[in-house]
Structures are given as structure tokens and as C-alpha cells.
């Protein structure tokens, strides 16, 4: 359940930004979570509700935009959609594919008051 400590870190990070960006409360957090990153969006949302208690993000809505995985096949010189890290190229069945997108998890923006 590493999602819980990720949420604690995320809230800590937003807490640090609160002073510089002059906000007291977070109403909504927009995330981008790659399909190939090591988190489950559903688990992240459950963990967030627990981690946000008594924090600057209590009762904030966590919105997760899932980013598809993209890999580059050298053989076909093509970018292909992949579901897992070890997927082969759907055209030539070759591997490894170079991961081009979908292995990151980022906080995009927050709505604050």
C-alpha cells in the first residue's frame, strides 16, 4: 500500500507550497498518472482520503487523469500503445520497446482558496 505514503508526500509537498502561493485550503487536486507507473488510481484515491485528514487538503477532491503507455519500436520505427512495461510491439512482436510515455505520476494543478 505504497499509495498511502505517496499521498502523504503529495500533501506534504502541497503544504510546503501553501505559504509561497498564499493558500489555506485545497479544494481539488488534478493528477496525471501513467498507466505504466507503479500506482493504482483507485488505491490512490482511497489512500488520499485517509492521508488528507486534518491537513490542508482535507475534503479535497482528487482527480486522476490516466495517461496511456506509449513505447517506441526501433524495428518498425513506430510509436505504439502499450498496457504493460514488457509488452511487445503489436506489429512485429519485437521487444524491448523504449518507453516514451506513461511511466510518470505528476501533480498538474490544484484549486485552492
Amino acid at each position: 500500500m505504497h499509495e498511502l505514503s505517496l499521498c502523504e508526500d503529495m500533501i506534504g509537498l502541497l503544504q510546503e507550497r501553501a505559504k509561497a502561493d498564499h493558500y489555506k485550503q485545497i479544494k481539488r487536486i488534478q493528477l496525471e498518472v501513467g498507466k505504466l507507473s507503479c500506482v493504482e488510481p483507485d488505491a490512490l484515491i482511497v489512500a488520499f482520503n485517509a492521508a488528507a485528514k486534518d491537513s490542508i487538503a482535507e475534503n479535497a477532491a482528487l482527480k486522476v487523469n490516466e495517461i496511456p503507455g506509449l513505447g517506441w519500436c526501433d524495428q518498425c520505427a513506430l510509436e505504439v500503445t502499450i498496457e504493460q512495461r514488457f509488452d511487445t510491439c503489436p506489429h512485429c512482436n519485437g521487444y524491448p520497446l523504449e518507453i516514451r510515455q506513461g511511466d510518470k505520476m505528476r501533480i498538474k494543478h490544484v484549486e485552492v482558496i
Binding site: H2, R85, P96, V110
Partner: protein
């Protein structure tokens, strides 16, 4: 946001953050890494599922290298200090971190353990992560290299079942090879699966209890200590 029409409240505003969720951990990891680099400490983060033989491998490694290098150990487990006590019996310094409900070590916890342990300059530092092939994958601790240990009593398809950790590792050690005659484990297929998720992964085979292959591992440490 207003729930009736979706308009933004008067005082509410959007602030662009554009930061990795892991950036707080990564910041602590960079501090640890700079500490290790500044003191020429070679730090290995050992990862595996429970029961792969990490602690036994560590004890045999310490016994073999203790006269050559100063060695210290950070032990991670959910509960108990059994492993740190086993390590201390070899005569080296060990700090136990109990993660409680946590399933991995974080860079911040390693930072605190370093303060307590104060590893010597030019030394080797081993981190034995919590036995778990899932959660520790994402958390950079500032280590010089990640080493994933798999034993032949587990499934050969684990690199595909837990791709994140094999993707993150620099070296994969296949342990308990003395048991190969008694189990159905395809070594080549296992390594091929590991290379599928990580083409650059290096591989070694050994038996920590019987000693087979240990020299290749010890030489790997000696060599990478110089070059990393």
C-alpha cells in the same frame, strides 16, 4: 468548484504545480546520494520478496568482505529487530528501521538511519529493504545500485509479474541455485523475462549457503565500487 453549474467560487483559483508525486522522496534521495558520493561510500539497496535469502546473502557477503572494507547495514522490516541482530553478530554496525504498517523504505528514513549509523568514508553500506517486490520499486533511496534477489524456489516468471522492480534494478541475483536439481525452475527463461523488462539488467547466479557463485558477486561489488 460550485456543484450546481461548475463555476469557480470567487476566491478559489488554480495554481499550476507540475511536480512529480515522488519529488519529496527524490529530494531526500539526492541528499543521501550526495552524502555517499562525498564520502566515497558504495551503497547497495537489496530488494526481494520475503524468504529469498537476502539476510543470509548479506551475512555471507559481510564475512567475506569484512577484512577488506568497513561495512555497515540498514535493515528494513515491518516489525522486529531479528535481522539487525543477526547482522550485528558478524561484528558490523547495523541499524534496524521498523516501517510498522509501511511496505517500503523511504529516502527520508534512510537519511535518519545514516545520522545514527555514521558510515565510515570509503565503506560499503548495505540497505536490506522490506521483503516486497511491489512497493519499494518506486522509492529512490539515493543508493549507488539496486540489487534484486530472486530464489529458485520462487516462480521463474516473477520478472514479468513484478516488472517495476526488475525494471528499476541494476543487478539481479538468482539465489539458492544449489536447489535447482529439486525444483522446476528455468534459469534462462527467468533471465530472458528480466531482460524483457530491463535490457540493461546484469545477472548473477549463486548459493549464499553453499558458496557457489559467491566470488562473482564479491567481484561485482569490488568492481562497481570503483566505477559507480
Amino acid at each position: 468548484m460550485c456543484t450546481v453549474c461548475g463555476c469557480h467560487d470567487e476566491q478559489s483559483r488554480l495554481i499550476s504545480i507540475e511536480q512529480d508525486i515522488l519529488s519529496k522522496n527524490n529530494r531526500c534521495a539526492t541528499i543521501n546520494r550526495n552524502y555517499f558520493r562525498g564520502r566515497n561510500i558504495f551503497c547497495l539497496n537489496l530488494l526481494s520478496s520475503p524468504g529469498s535469502g537476502k539476510t543470509t546473502l548479506l551475512i555471507e557477503t559481510i564475512k567475506a568482505l569484512n577484512n577488506e572494507f568497513s561495512v555497515s547495514v540498514i535493515e528494513g522490516d515491518q516489525q522486529t529487530s531479528f535481522d539487525a541482530e543477526r547482522i550485528r553478530k558478524t561484528g558490523v554496525k547495523a541499524v534496524q528501521i521498523n516501517t510498522g504498517k509501511g511496505c517500503h523504505l523511504s529516502a527520508r528514513k534512510i537519511g535518519r538511519a545514516i545520522d545514527e549509523l555514521k558510515p565510515a568514508p570509503d565503506s560499503l553500506l548495505f540497505i536490506e529493504n522490506v521483503g516486497n517486490l511491489v512497493c519499494p520499486a518506486a522509492f529512490d533511496l539515493g543508493e549507488s545500485c539496486k540489487v534484486v534477489v530472486l530464489s529458485v524456489t520462487e516462480g521463474a516468471d516473477k520478472p514479468l509479474k513484478y516488472p517495476d522492480i526488475f525494471h528499476a534494478a541494476d543487478l539481479m541475483i538468482l539465489n539458492k541455485i544449489d536447489l535447482l536439481p529439486y525444483v522446476d525452475f528455468d534459469v534462462e527463461r527467468c533471465f530472458e523475462y528480466a531482460r524483457r523488462v530491463n535490457p540493461d539488467i546484469q545477472t548473477l547466479q549463486l548459493s549464499a549457503t553453499k558458496g557457489d557463485g559467491m566470488n562473482s558477486w564479491l567481484n561485482w561489488i569490488r568492481q562497481h565500487r570503483k566505477t559507480t
